[in-house]
Amino acid sequence: MSTVPTVLMVEHVMGMPISLALRGRHATDDVGRAAWAETMAVLRAVDDVFSTYRPDSVVRRLDRGEITLADCPPEVQEVLALGAAAERDSGGAFSVYRPGPDGRVVLDPSGVVKGWAAERAAEPLRALDGTDFCLSAGGDLLCRTLGPDTPPWRIGIEDPHDPRRVIAVVPLGTGAVATSGTAHRGAHLVDARTGRPPEGVASVTVVADSLTDADIDATAAYAQGCEAADWLAGRPGRTGFVVWADGSTTSVCGPDAEEHAVG
């Protein structure tokens, strides 16, 4: 494969690093930089609404009962609908409502928001003609490749048992990759049915057309612990990679997902 010069940028928002790789026509010019600025502006606006850390965010005020859903911007309903669908599809293992420290149920749509937000934030990048991009929001990413002459993006999947290393690689032209696990933030992911961290699984990676889907499914599969790979195998259009607690791995190809040896 040819080597195409790639330009990398990184900024921080929502408490996580956002990385962008660009190659092609607008990789180094003002048009590309303006698109990147727009991407970051979208993510900052999302953070104003959905942050669970900032007491003045719309979601926190909604959770405290200071405002109603009718007072919220329409994207709040959109995200809650995605969360409800994921809860249904995962048999309740995934939920945007979880028990808080004091036992009270709190609204935490973080498991839906990140992928959904990155999809929205990628719109200015999609408008860049003749330019390939790969946008990562804290380890979940989506990418695009134009034309047959450029190689697919090579996406490394982090080893959950040693986050400095890569355990698998997926070449991806256009699509999304999301990984759920607890390597960097401790046991913050729980099975909503039990309120406890899932057992047997170390990380779940999902490849799908949209990062909204990939992110939700990675979290939902992870929450199901030992059932992660079986559940994922029933999800149309998804492929995936599960690393188990004992270090063994399982590759998953959902229905309608034909294998293509890209690259």
Partner: protein, 149 residues
């Protein structure tokens, strides 16, 4: 992979072109098409497009119609010499559309034999458990960004 797909599409389009060519030449009264060029009729000159009355050794070029494929439009130009295709040039190829996603998103992660560091794995980005800004500096992605900046 892409190269194979492109080659396949080109081949497909050449065939399409060859079949399609007969109709267009028939309509203009030209007696032979590239496809119908009889191998025994060596003296005959194929009246392909821009050449007229040329000798049998003259090369002529034919540009086919843009063929719609699931990857987008493909158009091929052929150079024909003595009834033999001597060159194929793709003048239009898909520049990417929504259908690309259907193909590419089926890629399956492949376990590497031994876990690798970012450099030896030759990767562009890393997907992993959510990295916080605090944890960013120790992450693989930081190493990649550093290498790129």
């Amino acid at each position: 992979m892409k190269r194979i797909v492109l080659w396949f599409m080109s081949t497909l389009t050449v065939v399409t072109l060859l079949f399609g060519y007969h109709t267009s030449t028939s309509a203009s009264g030209t007696p032979t098409s590239v496809l119908a060029q009889p191998s025994s009729d060596t003296a005959a000159t194929s009246g392909t497009g821009d050449s007229s009355g040329s000798s049998s050794s003259a090369a002529s070029t034919v540009t086919g119609p843009a063929a719609d494929t699931r990857w987008g439009p493909v158009q091929v130009q052929l150079t024909v010499e003595d009834g033999t295709i001597t060159d194929v040039t793709v003048v239009e190829y898909p520049t990417g559309n929504g259908k690309d996603r259907q193909i590419n998103a089926r890629a399956i992660p492949v376990l590497v034999q031994e876990t690798l560091d970012a450099q030896s794995a030759d990767i562009d980005m890393v997907s992993g458990a959510t990295v916080t800004s605090e944890g960013y500096l120790e992450s693989l992605q930081a190493a990649l960004d550093e290498a790129g900046l």
